[in-house]
């Protein structure tokens, strides 16, 4: 700490410390702690606060177990987010491999630049684009009916399918980049050696490329899962009342149910889910936190 004052002098050093303290304490840590505290308290009227009823309780957490609709949506959100993550991995792996192993250098940089373009665009707009594509009278239905794959248009925007397609689209890049970074450092000689020894294409990927790409796979999966589980925009735009997401339930507790304590408990459950997923991935792929944020 004294190094800071030696380097920048005390007035400037103090200003920096205060700014950082404001960020860390007031913007990041205290709000999280209060949210957790809030989630263990009953929803009280203002004049009941601090009174005999203001005690720590697990009631808000029991609600999730007791309410089968909410619990069902919670489980659905986990399963669907995991499916989105897996789907994104499968869709992105060939591209990342192509970029990092087959193209390399300036060619890869050029293609990457093209891939990045959609991701500069507002997530809401990208999702809206899918809203148009998937609409009942939209182009996808028109094409599918014209080619004869469908007899009549399908309601894509009525279920979880549309939401999942939109999510894969929205979070692709968070998978491509970590995969690319991991595969890029793969030694060509390793793959060639495997091929010379008679390994098939599938075996090379399973035994050489994928093990090498483990940190990238872990990072990409963590990012996509968290974005998917925590997404509010995509289900709100591409979903229907039949395909509600857990974040929408949380939102309703705050702005329709008016029970912030209950909402805080659900939010904390979502946070625990994400933290749990991170640790599960780190254990499965045997990577450290340092390797993840690299």
């Amino acid at each position: 700490m004294s190094a800071l004052f030696r380097r920048h002098g005390w007035p400037l050093g103090l200003v920096m410390l205060l700014i950082v303290a404001f960020w860390i304490v007031v913007q990041v840590v205290l709000p999280q702690l209060l949210m957790i505290d809030f989630s263990f308290r009953p929803n009280l009227l203002p004049d009941e606060m601090g009174g005999p009823k203001d005690v720590l309780t697990l009631t808000n957490y029991e609600t999730l177990w007791a309410n089968s609709v909410h619990f069902g949506i919670f489980v659905k959100t986990i399963v669907a987010s995991a499916a989105v993550t897996l789907l994104t991995l499968v869709v992105c792996y060939p591209i990342a491999f192509h970029l990092a192993y087959e193209l390399k250098g300036p060619k890869a940089a050029r293609l990457m630049l093209v891939l990045v373009i959609p991701f500069w665009i507002n997530e809401i707009l990208r999702t809206f684009a899918w809203y148009i594509v998937l609409a009942y009278a939209g182009p996808l239905n028109a094409v599918l009916v014209a080619v004869g794959i469908l007899d009549e248009p399908m309601r894509f925007l009525d279920g979880n399918g549309g939401v999942m397609v939109g999510m894969v689209y929205a979070y692709l890049l968070f998978m491509v980049f970590p995969l690319y970074n991991a595969i890029e450092s793969l030694d060509v000689a390793q793959v060639e050696a495997a091929r010379d020894l008679g390994a098939t294409w599938a075996r090379i990927h399973r035994r050489v490329v994928i093990p090498h790409a483990k940190p990238g796979i872990a990072t990409g999966c963590i990012m996509v899962f968290m974005l998917a589980a925590g997404s509010y925009a995509v289900p709100a735009l591409l979903g229907s009342p039949n395909s509600r997401w857990f974040t929408e339930i949380i939102y309703n507790w705050f702005f329709e149910g008016g029970n912030w304590n209950q909402g805080a408990a659900y939010a904390f459950i979502l946070l625990l889910l994400c933290v749990g997923f991170i640790f599960a991935m780190m254990k499965t792929f045997r990577v450290s936190l340092g390797e993840l944020t690299r």
Binding site: W23, Q27, P31, L34, M35, F38, L125
Partner: protein, 263 residues
Amino acid sequence: MNGAKTSPLMRAYLVLFLSYLFLPLVIMGAATFNDSRFPTVTPWVAFTTKWFDALFADGKMWDALVSSLMIGAGVVLLAVPTGIAAALVLQSVHKKARTLLYGVMVSPLLTPGVIIGISTLIFWRERFGVGGGPLLTVIAQASFISGYVMLMIAARLERFDRTLEEAALDLGATQGKVFRRITLPYLAPSLIAAAFLAFLQSFENYNTTMFVRGTDTTLTVYIASKVRTGVTPAVNALGLILIGLTILGAVVYELRRRKTSPV
């Protein structure tokens, strides 16, 4: 050097993948010019530019734009100084403390946006009686955008030659002057890039904003609400304009980045 030949299968996949990326955006853009009450390209009714007029005549859209610009400016003003201070403080603490501090600083980047919005909302209402609105939106957005800024500044600081500062000090410059004349100018390119990214992040934020906005409507919230309640191709016109501006910004950003970093 090429690692391997590209197989026809990979080529086909690449084409498919790129269509997946760009076709929806093209369709959205094309729907702007279709004379249909609902944004679509099927059926194609007739070419029109009337949706631009409809957009420009929409007072609520302009209000939302102003709100987005002000919140974006607020986030830049808060997050950029925070990011600079954080990166410099991080450099001057001991190794153990650094790991912990770094962990806390990047944690908002790994937290779902809705949770950042919720915790900010609860904290400010309970402790200070401040409800949702533009101020809270700036505070909530900056709490994670500062993390991005910190990472960008820290990356540039890593290559900074500290002896420059020491030489200036030896030659009699005050510490304040060293910061103003040496450290800050060195950081300038990443500061501009960070400010641009911070603004863009704020502008397009939805998940966090939904919880802290109160009755304030940003442009992104406005677009989403339009899609949910009675969408017309005027939204496409807005989208097309935003896409144009974003790509322009991205190209300028990329060109600047290539000029300033030798790698």
